[in-house]
């Protein structure tokens, strides 16, 4: 999830607290909003200068060691070793939370989970880590692209939506899609198991659903475009409309974001590389080795205990997933160097297309050829009245008698069909096709199965009583024989009321009052092209894949962090211990050293006006003398009582300035 989402979940009071932090004061005055301050690399660079050393150290450590993975205190404390004291880390974390750089979630029993939003993380990578090497343009002529380039995740998603719109997709008692339909749905997808071989997905129905299918189907459910009812899968009309009117660029961005929520690699170095990769221009070849070199140049490789070759291979494997999604293309240069390029433009919003750019071709042989730039809401409508025959660089559809029948059954009129085809066909609707559409459509309407409401009388006498009573005439559509009436369905309540008032007690025989499982039809959005798709919190959507981002399932912490909570012991400590250097009685010295050890804070020592700051780890008494085992500038040292004359307790963030 991105920063904006997190901010939107915070109460106003919390937001005000963040906004009043001195770090943002100047920027706010210049009209920047908080989200910009937290995600724009330029603004963040200014903010960074205003952070204190604990904040800087903690932030830098988190970016390099945790990434945008959610983390718990116990997790980072095991990682931090001697790079920061625990007190520094705790204080740093609290201060960063106060500034909205780290967000906090609360688990059931009150424990916290922290996270740096992905977009903020990417911006911090830009601020804190060196730039990647600029590579002069590698021309297409020296690159041999590798064969596989997926049709695009958005197309696969669309295909599943269409299938569900056209077919009743039933669920078993275990809420699994039936095998026969599953097979058909799998056949519609371009993404295959090979594309996903390097990702580890844990999901419901692991033994039954193929990974490629579950990935697309999960997205469908997670985006709330479809919903699993008790017995079938149903499309969400409103959400679909919002989704279809997005352009491919917007759709891909949403999918990219959701993908990161559920499936991005946990390795921080990969997250760092991906953050850098996003800054590489769209449709430009870039050597993969340069990304690996960047990790090395940033002195991160030893930090993660990986080697260059391993790094390269893992990075390549993580890219292969995106190749399947149609987001990245891989290639090899003449020098046998592996290169990649973005096939999805993350950094721009596509311009709205002109009318002539969104047209398809209708041929006199009933074939409709649809170029890839035709928006999905137009394809959707076309799908309602044609059958896809081939999916290639362009999509081929065929208008058939059967497809027109389906369109009519799904509520399109002859006029709707002809008007739509005419509107978007570059050369209009050929006469012969128009004529056939009219003929086929006309045939569909000749006989209609219609559900009506039958009022059956027990005998002819009752029938005649009702028939002769003018009170009931407005409700009767027609008479059938000597016992039955077809009555106005929409006036049923009124009729019941009148019947009861006139001494009849009507009985309901298997009358359905509408059921949750009624199949939704292929909805039409042809006349309403405006709309928007809002990506809801992933925790609200029911996907099949278990996300490793556990905080998705927790509530955000609404209580603003307080520094006092970092050192609850502070109130028990005599202020003089913190305030200045003093010499103490050995028993008091021992007590002070013990407090430093217990709270993971520093001890400042002075002798002959020479100061040193240590992080005590252990205290010993040897032959009446005090020994301190401590870290000093990341080195283990042992100090004897003759090594200091005075001492002072240092609580990072409190008295360390």
């Amino acid at each position: 999830m991105n920063c904006e989402k997190y901010l939107s979940q915070l109460p106003q009071s919390y937001l005000r607290e963040i906004q009043t932090q001195s770090t943002y004061e100047k920027l706010m005055k210049h009209g920047h909003d908080l989200k910009d301050c937290l995600t724009s690399p330029q603004l963040l660079a200014e903010c960074y200068e205003k952070l204190n050393y604990i904040e800087k150290h903690t932030l830098s450590w988190l970016i390099r060691n945790v990434g945008y993975e959610p983390f718990e205190w116990k997790h980072i404390i095991s990682l931090v070793e001697d790079q920061l004291s625990k007190a520094e880390l705790k204080m740093g974390l609290t201060l960063l939370r106060q500034k909205g750089i780290v967000f906090t979630f609360r688990k059931t029993w009150g424990e916290h989970i922290y996270v740096i939003p992905k977009d903020a993380f990417h911006a911090w990578v830009k601020v804190l880590l060196p730039e990647i090497k600029h590579v002069s343009c590698i021309g297409d002529e020296v690159v041999q692209p590798l064969d596989r380039l997926g049709r695009g995740l958005i197309f696969d998603l669309f295909q599943l939506m269409i299938y569900i719109a056209k077919n009743e997709v039933s669920l078993t008692q275990d809420k699994m899609i039936k095998k026969r339909q599953l097979q058909k749905m799998c056949n519609l997808l371009d993404i295959n198991e090979d594309d996903l071989q390097f990702i580890d997905l844990k999901y419901m129905g692991q033994d039954f659903y193929p990974k490629a299918f579950v990935l697309v189907y999960d997205l469908l459910l997670r985006l709330k475009l479809a919903e699993q009812k008790s017995k079938h899968v149903e499309l969400n009309k409103d959400k679909i409309h919002g989704w279809l009117v997005q352009n491919s660029c917007q759709m891909n961005k949403i999918l990219y974001e959701v993908w990161h929520q559920i499936c991005m690699p946990n390795q921080v170095w990969l997250q760092l590389i991906w953050a850098k990769m996003e800054t590489i221009s769209y449709d430009m070849w870039y050597p993969i080795q340069e990304l690996v070199n960047w990790i090395e140049d940033s002195q991160l490789m030893s930090c993660y205990g990986i080697e260059k070759k391993q790094c390269f291979n893992q990075l390549l494997n993580s890219m292969k997933v995106f190749v399947g999604f149609g987001w990245i293309q891989l290639g090899k240069t003449d020098n046998n160097e592996m290169v990649f390029k973005w096939k999805m433009n993350l950094n721009s919003t596509a311009k709205p297309l002109e009318h002539d750019e969104i047209q398809f071709y209708i041929q006199a042989d009933y074939e409709v050829l649809v170029p890839s730039n035709v928006p999905f809401h137009i394809r959707w409508e076309l799908e309602s009245m044609s059958e896809m025959t081939n999916s290639d660089v362009i999509m081929h559809y065929s208008i058939t008698k059967k497809s027109i029948k389906t369109a009519r059954q799904n509520g399109r009129t002859t006029n709707d069909i002809i008007e739509f085809l005419n509107k978007y066909s570059k050369y209009g609707l050929p006469d012969n096709v128009k004529k056939s559409v009219e003929d086929w459509s006309e045939q569909v309407g000749k006989i209609v199965f219609q559900e009506v409401l039958l009022l059956r009388c027990a005998d002819e006498k009752t029938f005649h009583q009702l028939n002769d009573n003018p009170l009931f005439q407005p409700y009767i559509i027609t008479k059938l024989g000597e016992k039955d009436f077809i009555i106005q369905k929409n006036l049923l309540k009124e009729l019941i009321n009148k019947l009861e008032k006139n001494g009849y007690t009507p009985l309901f025989s298997s009358l359905k009052q509408g059921s949750e499982d009624e199949k939704v039809q292929f909805p039409s959005f042809n006349k309403t092209v405006n709309g928007s798709y809002i990506l809801e919190n992933a925790k609200e959507a029911n996907g099949l894949v278990n996300s490793n981002k556990t905080m998705l399932y927790y509530e955000m912490e609404h209580k603003f962090p307080n520094i006092k909570d970092v050192y609850p012991i502070l109130e028990e400590i005599p202020p003089i211990w913190l305030k200045q250097y003093r010499s103490y009685h050995p028993s008091t010295e021992k007590e002070i050293i013990q407090k430093a050890i217990d709270n993971h804070v520093y001890l400042k020592l002075r002798k002959n006006k020479v100061e040193r700051m240590v992080l005590p780890q252990k205290i010993e008494e040897k032959e009446g003398d005090l020994l301190i085992h401590a870290f000093e500038k990341n080195k283990d040292i042992t100090l004897f009582s003759h090594d200091w004359e005075e001492m002072r307790l240092i609580f990072p963030g409190i008295n360390d300035k």
């Binding site: 590798l146 290639d392 362009i394 050369y427 050929p430 006469d431 012969n432």
Partner: protein, 555 residues
């Protein structure tokens, strides 16, 4: 302006409104097969054969890729570029040459030669190894080894040359060949070099394939065996040779079910060649290939060449072979055999160009929907057998009224009425007092009627499915189809061919099909409708009430 879409399934779509349409389509047809030509987007397909055809005419894979990249609207699927390179590079790796009466299979690549030698299907045809690149082969295996190698994906360039055959002077009489016909002849003949002398000339219906065949004969001046589809076509060939060359009638033989003449120029049907008493007997008429020292064999409508004739053709690879056809696509998918045994495509000319130059007439196609009368409609609904329903709809008596209206729209215009059912045709014949040609009519009587029609003495002819075959009715300007199987593209093409020949006046022809409204016949007619629009013809669907508007039909 980019106007091509290259797809991963090897199809190429060409937008016809491009200003460069003519040049682009011409270049496309050098390395791909034209699949369909509806008005706005034409579909071509690249196949191994089409690429080898291109290679054989000297085109390089990089030229094709460059051309596609230049004109494509979207990125070209990588697979396509790779396939073009792979397949086109294969052509010319293997060739057959002849030295001192010995045939040699030569490979440019010793590794490939090594692989070929390992192949169990090829081994029986290889004799001694000359070196790592070549092996000797037996003269009689020249065709068979080419057939097997193409199956392995390696086409062979055959430059082993030909036998001249028995000489026969053939001089064209006062015939003016059109430019493309001369180009076609030269593309095949290639100045008599070994690189020419076998292959296909692809020309649309009505473009004069027969005259091109005769032109090739006059270049080679040798005894010629012509194989064609049926007796009517045999007679047509004979008539054309007699009128367009100086070959005397006694030198021309017909070899059919009825007549078995073997003369310096012999015209036979595929049917007689593949005739045998039963499955256990040999094809005795295949002996015709050896009965004279032929210098040229012409395969008319080569896409219909039957399998046994392929086998025989494999044995006569030292004879020059010309295939004539309107399409390279075979229903049985044996395009590879045509390529390796008859030869590569040597010449192609698009029909739109013919139409543009007025060498074939412009045709407007109309489907006219005719109601059933109330009593027949009742009968129609009571029948459950689908075939009977179709027939009843086809023989709809109301069609006569519509024919009458159409004939009034085109007075004094040579008109054919073509149908499937004899009873219906007889009724029409009686109604309009017009002669009826059926299979029952003798050849002489038919010829008499054809002549009358050609001379303009007869304005209206009623013809049964005999019209499906290659009869020559030069001046039909209107064809009215009253019934048909409507499932056969071949039938539709032949019937359409009746009005394709150029007209003296406005060069405009009309092809009407009468279809009973809301019936089985209407459902079936969709197939023929598709065929015609895929061919690029304007297709209009009208209600019978609309045909009173003359302007509508003649626009």
């Amino acid at each position: 302006m980019s106007c091509l879409i290259v797809q991963a399934d090897s199809t190429i779509l060409l937008e016809t409104n491009s200003p460069q349409y003519v040049e682009i389509s011409a270049y496309l047809s050098l390395f791909s097969d034209l699949m369909k030509t509806p008005e706005h987007i034409h579909t071509y397909k690249i196949t191994p054969i089409s690429m080898w055809n291109a290679s054989s005419s000297g085109i390089k894979s990089q030229d094709i890729i460059k051309f596609l990249k230049k004109h494509t609207k979207f990125e070209i699927p990588l697979k396509i570029c790779k396939e073009i390179q792979m397949y086109m590079n294969r052509y010319g790796i293997l060739r057959i040459e002849q030295k001192n009466g010995q045939l040699t299979l030569i490979s440019r690549d010793s590794d490939i030669m090594k692989e070929i030698r390992k192949s169990e299907v090829i081994q029986p045809y290889l004799q001694d190894e000359i070196d790592n690149f070549s092996s000797r082969i037996n003269l009689i295996h020249r065709g068979l080894i080419k057939q097997e190698l193409i199956q392995l994906g390696f086409p062979v360039e055959d430059i082993a040359g030909y036998l001249c055959g028995e000489s026969l002077q053939i001089q064209l009489s006062d015939v003016k060949l059109r430019d493309y016909q001369m180009d076609a002849i030269e593309a095949f003949y290639q100045g008599g070099k070994k690189t020419g002398g076998s292959g296909l000339i692809v020309l649309p219906c009505g473009s004069g394939k027969t005259i091109v065949g005769i032109g090739v004969m006059s270049k080679l001046n040798c005894e010629t065996l012509i194989l064609t589809t049926n007796v009517t076509s045999v007679k047509q060939w004979k008539r054309e040779i007699l009128t367009k060359t100086d070959v005397p009638e006694e030198c021309i033989g017909e070899y059919t079910g009825d007549i078995k003449q073997v003369k310096p120029v012999t015209i036979a049907t595929y049917q007689i060649l593949t005739h045998r008493k039963n499955k256990d007997h040999d094809f005795i008429h295949m002996e015709l290939f050896k009965k004279r020292n032929w210098g040229l064999i012409i395969y008319d409508e080569v896409h219909l060449l039957p399998a046994p004739v392929f086998r025989e053709t494999a044995n006569i690879q030292a004879t020059r072979r010309l295939g004539l056809t309107a399409t390279l696509i075979r229903e049985d998918g044996r395009e590879e055999d045509v390529f390796s045994l008859v030869g590569p495509k040597r010449f192609y000319f698009p029909w739109k160009q013919l139409e543009k130059h007025g060498w074939i007439s412009k045709v407007e196609c109309y489907e006219i929907r005719v109601d059933l009368s109330a009593d027949v409609l009742d009968q129609y609904h009571q029948i459950t057998n689908q075939k009977l329903k179709f027939r009843l709809a086809s023989e709809n008596p109301m069609k006569i009224k519509v024919i009458n209206q159409l004939l009034k729209l085109h007075p004094d215009t040579p008109t054919l009425i073509i149908g499937q059912y004899l009873d219906q045709l007889k009724e029409i014949s009686n109604h309009f007092q017009a002669p009826l040609i059926t299979g029952e009519l003798s050849h002489d009587e038919r010829e008499l009627l054809y002549t009358g029609f050609k001379e303009g003495k007869i304005k209206l002819l009623i013809v049964s499915k005999v019209a499906n075959f290659a009869i020559d009715l030069p001046d039909a300007a209107v064809a009215i189809q009253v019934s048909g199987s409507y499932g056969s593209r071949q039938e539709e093409a032949q019937r359409l061919g009746r009005v394709l020949r150029p007209k003296k006046s406005d060069n405009q022809a009309h092809f009407y099909t009468l279809v009973t409204k809301d019936s089985k016949e209407q459902e079936f007619s969709l197939k023929r409708q598709l065929f015609l629009v895929e061919q690029g013809y304007q297709y209009h669907i009208l209600d019978e009430k609309q045909i009173t508007n003359k302007e509508l039909l003649t626009s």
